[in-house]
Every structure is written in structure tokens, then in C-alpha cells.
């Protein structure tokens, strides 16, 4: 099974999604059970990626390669390394939770909803495992479709606007990427991503390619100033959509920088690293300020996501300044920190959106002002909310701390002022998160409806407990994650530092 494990992970959920739609036409209950079954099976299979993973090499593993379109030398070429493997597991993990979360809550076309998430799961795994640029591009674009439908069909009142904005924005970005990929194909005659890593290209070409990639990935992350689609998309998306968007889809941007920008255009990355760093710092601080005054919980968390993702791009692009020939630790801290931050943000933002989802399911409001004193009627739920809020604020022993800590430690050695600015998140992150917690969960009950709230049921408890465990385990003992990614990250650092000129 190992030889086709990745293919199974990609196609099982996609075909499973089709099956779920067909089943859904006759029996909704069966369709639901089928989707949870598929999601769990895929998750369990994805664990095999971890247990069968060789930590000691940066080479691609679980590789499969067959010809696809021989005329253009396009191959069905997939494989994983320490950078993509954790993201795949994060995807399968999140999908299980989303299926459970949508169990009773989604009333409209429930089977189609589940199917959309299953298909998206397969497509995103495809993105993270593609080693052929065209295959990558196909998965990348295809993954937009289920998301577009999820927002457009199951979204809020203004869902069509948000869905189209999301689609056009990200589509525009990826078209630029496609041009860059085709350009390189014309040069080398190959769409293999690993070949592109070794492709010699001039400084000017690198600059063009770098910016083409940048547009694609920066929109996805999203980085300032191309971030405004995210709050709209989040606010309109159903809970599951927000979770997938924040936990997984944003990571596609960060992954793109690691898989494409750094190794393919190392010299341009170096040249423009300061610009990216400054944009990242703007995201961290400016967006945090904006998050502070949001009245809509989902918007607040969406902005908080942008701010936290700023640490990812900061950690990645600080490596050029942080690297010192006799000690690579600072650069590695930044890069590993970026990876850890992506995974951790996957857990925490998912949890935060679930938290809002639980409240929204009950009172159909995302406004902070609607709530107040929720702890009185929902003590268990509040316990989880405070835990995840603390994780969002980067409290040690939660995963939220690890990535930010590593990035700040690393970045300080690049430029102390960058670290000073990044560390402001310690204050602002706590401010916007805990202020929201205070207004929603603590204080006296002002709204009578809050009194009647039911505490979380077993299903909700299960989801939040699983995420809580993930957040805590990764905060208390991050070494297993670091061990998995470290060799690949070290190799990536070398690639980024080797000039192609």
C-alpha cells in the first residue's frame, strides 16, 4: 500500500465525495456516515505517512511517478518531504473535525456539504504532494472550486459577493504563477518542481518569477496589502469553510514560498527579502490593531489569522539576514518556526472558528455585543474558549507560543528592530483576543437569550477536546514535529543560500 499511499490519500476522498453525493440522493443518514467513515479512514492512512517517514533524509518519500501528458512532458509525480507531510496530516485531521462539526448543524443539502469538504481534502493533499508543476497548478486551482461552492451555497447573507471576491482574488494570483511555471518549462523542457529547483536562471528572470510567485502566494497567505478578501470570506463562510480556509488553505501560500520561491529564485528572494519582511511586520502589527476594534467575532479571528500568518512569512524571509556562516541556528529557528507556526495556526484558528461556530449555531449572531456572561450558561465551553484564546495569544505550553517564540528568537539575529516590532504581538495579540473573551464570556449577562444557552454537547466537546490536546501537546513537546521537518528545512536553507548566478 505504501507505493500508492499518497494517491489513495488524494483520490479516496475525491471519489468518496462523489459517492457521498450519490448516496445523499437516497439516504442522508447513510451519506453522513459514509463521509465520516471516509474522513476517518483517510486520516488513519495519513498517519502512515508519519510512522513510515524517514526523518534522516530530505529526499522526497512515498514517491509515485507516471506519465500524464507526454507531449508536454507532464507527469503525475507526487511525493512528500518534511515540509509537506505535516501539512497533509493537518489536512486529514481537520477534515475529520469538520465533518463532525457539520453533522447536525448544516441543514441545507447536508450530503453535498460533506462531499465538498471531502473533495477539497483530496485536492489539497494533491497540492501538498505534487512534484510536477502542472499537476500542482491543477490541484491548486481545483481546490478553489469546492471552497467557492461552500461559501456560495452554505454561506451567510452576503455570500455571493464574498465567494466571487475570494475566487477572483486567488485566481488572479495563481494565473501569474502559471505564467512563471510555463516560462520555466520553456527554458528547461520539464515541469518537474525538483528540476526547477536546480534550474539556472538569471537575476532578471528570477525577479520576474519571484514576483509572479509572490502574487500567487501572498494572496493566499494572505499578506498585507492583498488580505482584504479574507475577512469577507470568513465572515460569509459556514463554520467548516472558515476552518478549512484558516487551517489549511492559508498554509498553501506559506507552502508555496517554501517549495517554489526560496529554492527556485534564491537570489531574488535574498534581494527582496526586506520588502517581504516589512510587509510581514505590517501584517503583524497593523492588522493586530485592526483586529482590536472588530465587532464581529469572525472578522476579529480572521484579522488575527492574518497577523499570525505574518510570522510565517517573517520567519521564512528573515533567514537571509539571520544566517551566519558559522551558525545556522538563527536562520533555522526562523524557518522551523514558520513551519511550526503554520501547523499551530492550523489547530488554533480551527479551534477559534469552531468556538464562534458553536455560539453562532445557538444565537445566530457573530456580534460580540450580542453576548456577555456566556460563562454562566456554558462553563465547559468557556473553559475551552479561554484555553484557545490563550493559545492564540501565544501562551507558553500551547502551540501558539512555539512558532512565535522561534521566529522572534531567530529574527532578532537578523535585525533587532524586526524582533522588537514582531514582539509587539505579545501585547496586541493578548489585547484583542482577551478583550473579546472578556466581552463575550465574562461579565454580567445583558442579553436574556444568553441565559438560555445550552452548554456544548458531546459532539462539540469532542471536537474542542481533540483540538485542545493537539494545541497542548505541541506546546509542551514540539520536538517530534521539529524532528520531522528539520532535515528538509536544513536542506531548504542550503538551497536558499546557494546562489544561482
Amino acid at each position: 500500500m505504501e507505493q500508492i499511499l499518497l494517491s489513495l490519500l488524494i483520490w479516496l476522498p475525491i471519489l468518496g465525495g462523489v459517492a457521498v453525493i450519490l448516496i445523499g440522493n437516497s439516504s442522508l443518514a447513510l451519506a453522513r456516515w459514509a463521509s465520516i467513515f471516509i474522513a476517518v479512514v483517510v486520516f488513519i492512512m495519513s498517519i502512515k505517512l508519519y510512522t513510515g517517514f524517514d526523518n534522516s533524509t530530505y529526499m522526497m518519500q512515498f514517491v509515485e511517478q507516471t506519465q500524464w501528458i507526454s507531449f508536454f512532458n507532464i507527469n503525475y509525480h507526487i511525493g512528500v518531504d518534511g515540509i509537506s507531510m505535516p501539512l497533509i496530516i493537518l489536512t486529514t485531521f481537520s477534515t475529520v473535525l469538520i465533518i463532525i462539526a457539520g453533522w447536525e448543524v448544516i441543514k441545507k443539502q447536508n450530503a453535498h456539504y460533506m462531499a465538498a469538504f471531502l473533495m477539497m481534502e483530496g485536492l489539497i493533499i494533491g497540492v501538498f504532494s505534487s512534484l510536477d508543476a502542472i499537476l500542482f497548478y491543477v490541484f491548486w486551482e481545483a481546490s478553489l472550486i469546492p471552497m467557492l461552492l461552500i461559501i456560495g451555497i452554505w454561506g451567510g447573507d452576503n455570500r455571493v459577493y464574498a465567494a466571487i471576491k475570494f475566487f477572483l482574488y486567488t485566481f488572479l494570483g495563481s494565473v501569474c504563477m502559471l505564467i512563471a511555471l510555463i516560462y520555466m518549462y520553456n527554458k528547461s523542457g520539464s515541469f518537474s518542481i525538483l528540476n526547477m529547483h536546480n534550474l539556472g536562471i538569471t537575476a532578471t528572470e528570477q525577479a520576474w518569477i519571484f514576483w509572479a510567485f509572490f502574487i500567487a502566494f501572498a494572496v493566499k497567505v494572505p499578506m498585507f496589502p492583498v488580505h482584504t478578501w479574507l475577512p469577507d470570506a470568513h465572515v460569509q463562510a459556514p463554520t467548516g469553510g472558515s476552518v478549512i480556509l484558516a487551517a489549511i488553505m492559508l498554509k498553501m501560500g506559506g507552502y508555496g514560498f517554501l517549495r517554489f520561491s526560496l529554492p527556485i529564485t534564491p537570489d531574488a528572494s535574498l534581494e527582496f527579502s526586506n520588502i517581504i519582511i516589512i510587509l510581514s511586520l505590517i501584517a503583524i502589527i497593523y492588522i493586530a490593531f485592526i483586529a482590536l476594534v472588530q465587532r464581529d467575532m469572525k472578522k476579529l479571528i480572521a484579522y488575527s489569522s492574518i497577523s499570525h500568518m505574518g510570522f510565517v512569512t517573517l520567519g521564512i524571509f528573515a533567514l537571509f539576514l539571520a544566517y551566519k556562516p558559522n551558525s545556522a541556528e538563527a536562520a533555522l529557528l526562523g524557518l522551523n518556526g514558520a513551519m511550526v507556526q503554520m501547523i499551530s495556526h492550523g489547530f488554533i484558528s480551527a479551534a477559534m472558528f469552531f468556538i464562534v461556530g458553536v455560539l453562532y449555531d445557538r444565537l445566530h449572531s457573530r456580534e460580540i455585543a450580542t453576548y456577555g456572561g456566556v460563562i454562566n450558561s456554558m462553563p465547559k465551553f468557556t473553559g475551552f474558549a479561554v484555553l484557545f484564546a490563550m493559545a492564540n495569544a501565544g501562551l507558553p505550553a500551547t502551540s501558539g507560543f512555539v512558532g512565535e517564540f522561534m521566529v522572534i528568537l531567530g529574527v532578532l539575529q537578523a535585525n533587532i528592530w524586526y524582533a522588537v516590532l514582531a514582539a509587539i504581538t505579545l501585547i496586541l495579540g493578548a489585547a484583542y483576543t482577551l478583550w473579546m473573551v472578556k466581552r463575550v464570556f465574562f461579565g454580567a449577562i445583558t442579553n436574556n437569550e444568553v441565559k438560555t444557552l445550552q452548554d456544548i454537547n458531546t459532539r462539540e466537546f469532542f471536537i474542542l477536546a481533540i483540538l485542545a490536546l493537539a494545541v497542548l501537546i505541541m506546546g509542551i513537546y514540539p520536538q517530534p514535529v521539529i524532528e520531522t521537518i528539520n532535515i528538509s528545512v536544513e536542506n531548504l536553507l542550503q538551497q536558499a543560500l546557494n546562489s544561482k548566478l
Binding site: 496589502p225 485592526i290 501562551l395 532578532l412 539575529q413 524582533a419 454580567a444 521539529i482
Partner: protein
């Protein structure tokens, strides 16, 4: 020994988990028995460790427990460093925690969140242990933030009170300002030493002395950044603003967290970092000045407070200032000594205040008390002992530690040491004044209780008075017992290093004879008379001629106003930081993000596309002769261009 240390640290965590998850099912009694049992285990073992390390010169234990993360050659671990400093901290923390656990049985009796409260204070004990036992900066930061988290949870324990949840948010954020500096300090230390392990960092210091940053030497910058963290946690001006608000929490945690242990984390940390701070006179001077300002000006605020807990809170701020001054003049061991004595007498004072609060059905206003001496004798006598210790009455524990601080400042040769000396001596008068003012108003004079309460007032139950009596003993004698070993005969030698140029401790060692002779000698020194003066003035204004107090208050209206408005720190923070940041954020959001980026650029691009489309649409008329016309025109233009080009 490793297992002993592990047990000390993790027993309270286990208690917290059991109480937190199963407390409701187990019931109040079983829950408090379990948590108390676990803390008792920690306490007994802490005494064992104290005996092993401090009394029998056991070898320093420095060992990693597990690798938290390994990046290249950088190893970040969770590990324990147990030397005499840690041992002393373990004993103080566990002992006070145990007393507070017992006290809580009585104080929180009948509270809805009874088991939750036990879970929190046990969790706190664990976090504090992690902080003091750490052998590296990562774990130190973990403990640092974890105690802050529990403090947050406990200040807001009564979450239905708006003031409580306001105060806990404020406490967390102000502490985060400190942590901002602290984390940068840690990152800076990593950047020059390549390690987060204390021992490795200290061994690298020599090579760093001549490096510069921001116009200072690197070590000074690192020390100052660390000290910003200490200012947050140990509530030094201007980051002190959260501590008075923390009194919104139930009294047991005011005693445990906001008096005896957590707030002294900054003092502990600077002492732990003494090898670094000793290399920077700049940092030491700043530490001393900040401490002196806090000691003097926060004490002054205690004079005008009428809330019994607030008075004790301001006195805590002032005493933390004293400890910080001691750090500044390189008298780390005296700072730790004062930390120890203060932990006992201040915890006692808070718990005694809590005893009164319970007896008076949660009235905290001293103007509505009075004459409680007869009704609550145990509370009175233990309060008296605590107060005498606090004001530094000769023979009581606080006397030794405070007198030593004053003497050490006297010998300091740092710039502005004169100011610090002035502040700490004047502080003695102020301390005596506000402490006895409270004692007199609460326990002496006529009763101002309403008649209903008057009938029901009686001494608190055993679970409350027992800790009071137990804490009264060290509050009285601990100073006498340990002054010599802790300051002069080497208890802290393996943890603290002092530069030869910083002579204060050496001078004191020459002068010191015995605890008894210190008492005799003190009668001829200014602090003693300042103290006595403070007591007498308090007596005159509060008992003898109350009218005079009103007269003074009218006469010095401006000063009273200034003190009453807490020097305007809160208002300043509210206007500049809270309102200011909200305003800026709103502008950024509405003007920059919503209008400029989203509406004009993003949606503008969409509209532009739409507009272009709608114009272009006019061209597509569908009439063939229109298209033919355009084609011919275009052809002509192209031809013309080609011709001209040739």
C-alpha cells in the same frame, strides 16, 4: 534526588488536574483534601530539599529533564536547577501555598466555584515551582507566563463582577508589556551566547563585555530588557498599575500570588541573573532608581486608601520596591532575605485582612470597621505581629531584612544612591504610618459597624485562624534565625555572585555582629526613629485626634487629590493607551483597510474592469458594417505606420 524534585513540582499539577476535571463529581471536601494532600507532599519534600541543599551543603543539581526542541546545535530543554536559592524559594512557595490552601477551606466556604478555586491555586503552585526550579530561559518564561495566566484566572474568579474581569484583563496586558521586554531580553541573550541554558549563558559573558548595542554595552541592554519583565511581574513603576486592581480576586490569592510569591518572581529572576547584572552598572542603577521610586511613592498611596486590601496592596508595591532597591545595590541576598520575610508577614497580613472581610460579610472599607480587637482576638494579634514585622520593629523578621536593605543602600556607590537612601528611609516612616493607621482604624477605637453586623461578628473558624497562627511564627522569628546564614555565611554563595567593586555586602559583613546587637544598634539609627514617628503620627491622627486628619486633608488638598488619583497613572493609561489605541485602530480599519485598500483599490479594480467592459460593450454592436469600418480604419493606420517606419 531527581525524583524528589519531580514530585515537588508535579504533585500540585496532579492536584490541579484532579480538582479541575473531577472536582464537581468528587465534592468539595474530597477535592480540597486531595489538593491539600498534594501540596503537603510538595511542602514536606521542599523542606527535605532545603535540608539537603542548604543545611547540609548538598551538591547543586543541574539536569535536563527532556529536550523541548533541538535546532542545529541549539538545545532547548526543560530542566531543573536546584541550588540553595531554588531550595529557599521552594520552601517559601510551598509553605505559603499550603497555608493558603488550608485557609481557602474557610474563606471560600459555600462559594459556587469552590473546587475550581482549589484547582487554580494548585495550578499556580505548579507554575511557580516551574519558574523557580528552571535551569533555562525558555522554562523560566513558561513559568513566568503560567503564573500570569493563573493570576488572570483568579483575579477574574468572580467573573460576574465587571470590575473583576476588567482588572484581570488589565493585569494580563500590563504584564504582557513587561513580557515584551523580557522575551526580547531572552532573544538577545540567545543571540550572543548561542544558548538558553543559564550555566552556558553565564560562561559566555566574558566574551560579550565589549559589544555595543543602542549606545550601550550589550549586557546592559539585555539586563534592562530582562528587568522590564521584572517590572511587569514585580509591579514596579510604571508597570505597577495592575497590582491594586488584582485585589478584585478572592483574598487567599491576594496573599499567595499578589503578595508572597508571584510578584516576587521578578526579584528572584534578577537574583538568578546576578552574574549578568553585576557586569552592568547602568542596569543596576536603573534597577535601584525604579525600586526607590516604587518604594517611596507607592507607599504614599497607601496612606489615603480606605479599602483594607488596597492598603495592603500598596504596601506590597512599596515592599517590592525595597527588594528592587536591594537588587540595584548588588545586595541580592538581602533582596531574597526580604522576599522570604515579606512572604510570611505579608501573606499573614492579607489572610488576616481576609479573616476580617469574611467576618464582616465582604465589607472591605476600613471606615466601616473599628474596635474589632475584642471580637477577633486571634486575627488582631496575628495582624499586630504582621504589622510590626512590616514596619520593621526591632526583633521582628521584617526589621532585619529592611534594616539591611537600608544599610546596603547606604554603602552603595552607584550614582543616585543618595536618592535611593532618602527614599528607603523616608519609606520607613510612611510604612509605619499607613500600617498602623490601618491597624488602629480597624481594630481599635470605636466600632463603626452597622448594628446588624455588630451582633454577628465573631472570630473566624479554625481553618482561617490556623494558617494565621502558623504564619505568625515565621513572621516573628524567621529574620532572627536566618539573617546570619543567608546574608553572611554563605547560604546563597552558590547561586549569587557579586562583583568586587560593589562593596555594600562586604561592608555589611564587616559591620555585622549578631542579630541581638543589631537590635541594640538600631535604636541609634534614623530608620528606628522614623518608624516610631510613623506609629505615633498614625496614633495621633487615627485615634487621638481624628479631627486633625480631616484638617490636614483640607489643608493639603492638592497633595491629597494627587494621592487619591494615584498620580494619574490610570487616567493617563486610559487616555493614551486604551482610548488612543482604539482610536488609531478604528482609523486604520475604516480609512486604510476598508476604504483605501478594499473599497478603492480592490473593489475599484473590479469596478474599473466592469467599467471598461461596459464601454467596450458599446463597440460590440453586432453590425457587420461597424466591424468592417473598424477593420479598414485599423488597416489604414497600420499601413501608414509601416510606411512611415520604412
Amino acid at each position: 534526588m531527581k525524583n524528589v524534585y519531580l514530585t515537588i513540582v508535579f504533585a500540585p499539577l496532579l492536584g490541579a488536574i484532579i480538582a479541575g476535571f473531577f472536582g464537581k463529581k468528587l465534592g468539595n471536601k474530597i477535592t480540597h483534601n486531595i489538593t491539600i494532600l498534594f501540596v503537603l507532599i510538595s511542602t514536606l519534600m521542599s523542606f527535605y530539599v532545603f535540608n539537603h541543599h542548604v543545611l547540609n551543603q548538598g551538591e547543586v543539581f543541574n539536569q535536563n529533564i527532556y529536550t523541548w526542541m533541538q535546532i542545529g546545535n541549539l538545545d532547548i530543554s526543560v530542566g531543573f536547577l536546584v541550588d540553595n536559592l531554588t531550595s529557599i524559594m521552594l520552601v517559601v512557595v510551598s509553605f505559603v501555598s499550603l497555608m493558603v490552601h488550608i485557609y481557602t477551606i474557610g474563606y471560600m466556604h459555600g462559594d459556587e466555584g469552590y473546587t475550581r478555586f482549589f484547582s487554580y491555586i494548585s495550578l499556580f503552585t505548579f507554575a511557580m515551582f516551574m519558574l523557580v526550579i528552571s535551569n533555562n530561559f525558555m522554562q523560566l518564561f513558561f513559568g513566568w507566563e503560567a503564573v500570569g495566566l493563573v493570576s488572570y484566572l483568579l483575579i477574574g474568579f468572580w467573573h460576574h463582577k465587571e470590575s473583576a474581569v476588567q482588572a484581570n484583563l488589565k493585569a494580563f496586558l500590563v504584564n504582557r508589556v513587561g513580557d515584551f521586554g523580557f522575551l526580547l531580553g531572552i532573544a538577545l541573550i540567545l543571540s550572543f551566547s548561542g544558548s538558553l541554558d543559564y550555566a552556558q549563558v553565564f560562561s559566555q559573558l566574558d566574551g560579550m563585555i565589549n559589544q555595543q548595542l543602542w549606545g550601550l554595552d550589550l549586557i546592559s541592554v539585555a539586563c534592562l530588557l530582562l528587568f522590564v519583565g521584572a517590572m511587569g511581574k514585580s509591579a514596579q513603576v510604571p508597570l505597577h498599575v495592575w497590582l491594586p486592581g488584582s485585589m478584585e480576586g478572592p483574598t487567599p490569592i491576594s496573599a499567595l500570588i499578589h503578595a508572597a510569591t508571584m510578584v516576587t518572581a521578578g526579584i528572584f529572576m534578577v537574583s538568578r541573573m546576578s552574574p549578568m547584572f553585576e557586569l552592568s552598572d547602568v542596569a543596576l542603577t536603573v534597577v535601584m532608581i525604579v525600586g526607590a521610586i516604587t518604594a517611596l511613592f507607592m507607599g504614599l498611596l497607601g496612606i489615603v486608601q480606605n479599602d483594607i486590601k488596597k492598603i495592603v496592596a500598596y504596601s506590597t508595591l512599596s515592599q517590592l520596591g525595597y527588594m528592587t532597591v536591594a537588587l540595584g545595590v548588588s545586595a541580592y541576598s538581602i533582596a531574597i532575605f526580604h522576599l522570604v520575610t515579606h512572604a510570611f508577614f505579608k501573606a499573614l497580613l492579607f489572610l488576616a485582612a481576609g479573616s476580617i472581610i469574611v467576618a464582616l460579610h465582604h465589607n472591605q472599607d476600613i471606615r466601616k470597621m473599628g474596635g474589632l480587637r475584642k471580637k477577633m482576638p486571634i486575627t488582631y494579634w496575628t495582624s499586630l505581629i504582621a504589622t510590626l514585622a512590616l514596619v520593621g520593629f526591632p526583633g521582628f523578621s521584617g526589621f532585619y531584612s529592611k534594616d539591611m536593605i537600608i544599610e546596603a543602600v547606604h554603602f552603595s556607590q552607584l550614582p543616585y544612591a543618595n536618592f535611593a537612601y532618602f527614599a528607603v528611609v523616608l519609606g520607613v516612616f510612611i510604612t509605619a504610618f499607613y500600617s498602623f493607621r490601618m491597624l488602629f482604624i480597624v481594630f481599635h477605637g470605636e466600632s463603626r459597624l452597622d448594628s446588624d453586623t455588630q451582633k454577628h461578628v465573631r472570630e473566624s473558624p479554625l481553618s482561617i485562624t490556623f494558617p494565621l497562627v502558623v504564619l505568625a511564627i515565621p513572621s516573628f522569628i524567621i529574620g532572627f534565625l536566618i539573617i546570619e546564614p543567608i546574608l553572611f555565611t554563605g547560604w546563597l554563595d552558590n547561586a549569587i555572585s557579586v562583583n568586587k567593586d560593589h562593596v555594600a555586602m562586604a561592608e555589611l559583613k564587616n559591620l555585622f555582629d549578631s542579630p541581638i546587637s543589631m537590635i541594640v544598634h538600631s535604636l541609634q539609627t534614623p530608620p528606628f526613629w522614623f518608624m516610631l514617628g510613623g506609629v505615633i503620627v498614625a496614633w495621633m491622627l487615627c485615634l487621638y485626634r481624628v479631627k486633625w486628619a480631616n484638617f490636614l486633608q483640607r489643608k493639603f488638598k492638592a497633595i491629597h487629590y494627587m494621592l487619591d488619583s494615584l498620580y494619574g497613572f490610570d487616567r493617563f493609561n486610559q487616555i493614551v493607551f486604551v482610548d488612543g489605541i482604539k482610536k488609531i485602530s478604528n482609523i486604520l480599519w475604516k480609512v486604510s483597510d476598508m476604504s483605501l485598500i478594499d473599497k478603492i483599490i480592490v473593489n475599484g479594480a473590479a469596478r474599473l474592469t466592469g467599467l471598461t467592459g461596459s464601454i467596450m460593450r458599446n463597440i460590440q454592436t453586432g453590425y457587420i458594417y461597424h466591424y468592417a469600418f473598424f477593420m479598414i480604419c485599423s488597416l489604414l493606420i497600420i499601413l501608414a505606420w509601416v510606411v512611415i517606419k520604412i
